[in-house]
Symmetry: C2
Subunit: 255 residues, 2 copies
DNA sequence: CGCAACATTGAACGGTATCAAGTATGGTGG
DNA sequence: CCACCATACTTGATACCGTTCAATGTTGCG
């Protein structure tokens, strides 16, 4: 699974990842150092590899350094629902860390680099350093806020608004995570996967996509997405980025 | 808003509540004492009162000691989606504590007793006591797990399965929270509120309820619900209580 | 008692699923 | 380099679940 390119990729991505991590968690340097010291070396996964497996014992925290991943729940009848999409900088399983086993499978949507931090190393930090526990709690909270937003559009919007909203959210998060402009980005999702995210059928994803295309709101081919009219897309989605910007937490100790 | 009955209610409910809290958070006695010492006195709310208001500055942690409450998101067009239902013993806003303002309004579904813990008192504890941060993190994780389950049935099940699942979940949580048998309990929700939870129309809630009644699965009148055939209801809902039982976290320090 | 909120019922409409078929697209082995 | 295959995407026809609108019955509360 490893080849030269992967190693190069890892080495090139890690510094950028670590600085994003610092920005995001707002940890004191000593804590961040302790966290990184507790980690294994970065690993590489290809599309479809599982980074976390449903029902397995939680073995540690997993940080996504590069690429994208999705948390999947599978039904008895074989249908699936994607309950989360992760981008570089996200923790994949902060919310499951305190439980015996994970409730979802998380699989790589693209070739990815991830950083596992085994529980044995992490537990002493969790037991002693309130700031590190706080960072994990913060990430869990952010994840919960995102999920809540998904619940709202799953429950109350039609397919078009759901899709538009998802694209807006992803654009915003990628921008935040990579620092790039968010008007065009790689969308490594098949229409089938989009269907599993939005809770609609694959066929209908296709139709809604074409509708958005015909209205000159987006351009999408070969997994490359362009947002042609962001303002109008935001309107269709009723997308309010505030729930994402407010992720920036209060400073420690600040009122 | 206060009368004698309320005070009696508060006094009668608090000991039971505190013991539930202890069981749930698995905090060392010293930490639990510190938490309770930081709290205001218990307060009382009537149906419809807001315990937390969307957009307002977060002023502290709110524990629900008695009654039920719902977290509500409101749209521009006036429609609402209920994104969470809380029962006695739940923390209402653990996941929002680190942010500047709350994203949801939380309103009392019944006459309720709640315990506010102001941020000024809480912040020193959060800064210093890893065990307390851990408890808050744990509660946020539990909340996120519940939400994820809702996302799954919002995305992929029909109205009947959604309703059945919600009833199963609530029954289970009430049983867990109150210790009572869960085969019959008060369901202080109008069909309209159920619709806002399930993401379907009020009219359809009515029809689905009647279907469940005609199949001898439930009995519901005057806000009192009886589960007549729990096994079959579980089957219809594809309800797997494990995602709720697994909330019981690992012991501190245990591997 | 009378009003307001809640529950129930029917009819027509609409969004989305499902089924089925056909068309790109990309990767693989010969 | 091409033939082939698998996967992804596209399109149309039909059925169903759930919405909406509207009317009526019921309950509870001031």
């Amino acid at each position: 699974m490893w080849d030269l390119d992967d190693k190069v990729l890892v080495q090139r991505e890690m510094p950028a990842f670590l600085s994003r991590l610092a920005r995001r968690l707002a940890l004191p340097p000593s804590d961040q150092d302790a966290l990184v010291a507790a980690a294994f070396t970065p690993r590489h996964a290809v599309k479809g590899d599982f980074l976390v497996q449903e029902g397995r014992k939680t073995t540690g925290l997993v940080l996504l350094c590069h690429g994208m991943a999705a948390a999947i729940r599978t039904f008895a009848n074989g249908t699936e629902q994607i309950v989360a999409v992760f981008v570089a900088g996200d923790m994949l399983n902060a919310g499951e860390l305190l439980y015996r086993q994970s409730r979802t499978s998380i699989s790589a949507l693209t070739s990815s680099v991830y950083l596992p931090i085994p529980l044995e190393q992490l537990e002493p930090l969790i037991a002693e350093r309130a700031t590190i526990v706080r960072a994990l709690w913060l990430e869990t909270s952010a994840q919960a806020a995102l999920q809540q937003e998904w619940m709202v559009w799953l429950g109350r919007r039609d397919a078009q608004a759901r899709l538009a909203h998802f694209l807006c959210e992803l654009s915003y998060r990628l921008q935040d995570s990579s620092g790039e402009a968010g008007d065009a980005f790689d969308l490594p999702l098949t229409q089938h996967e989009l269907a599993d995210i939005l809770g609609i059928s694959t066929v209908h994803v296709n139709r809604v996509l074409q509708n958005l295309r015909s209205r000159q709101l987006i351009e999408l081919s070969r997994n490359r997405l362009k947002l042609l009219d962001k303002a109008e897309l935001y309107r269709v989605a009723e997308f309010d980025e505030e729930y994402l910007t407010s992720f920036k937490p209060k400073e420690l100790g600040a009122n």
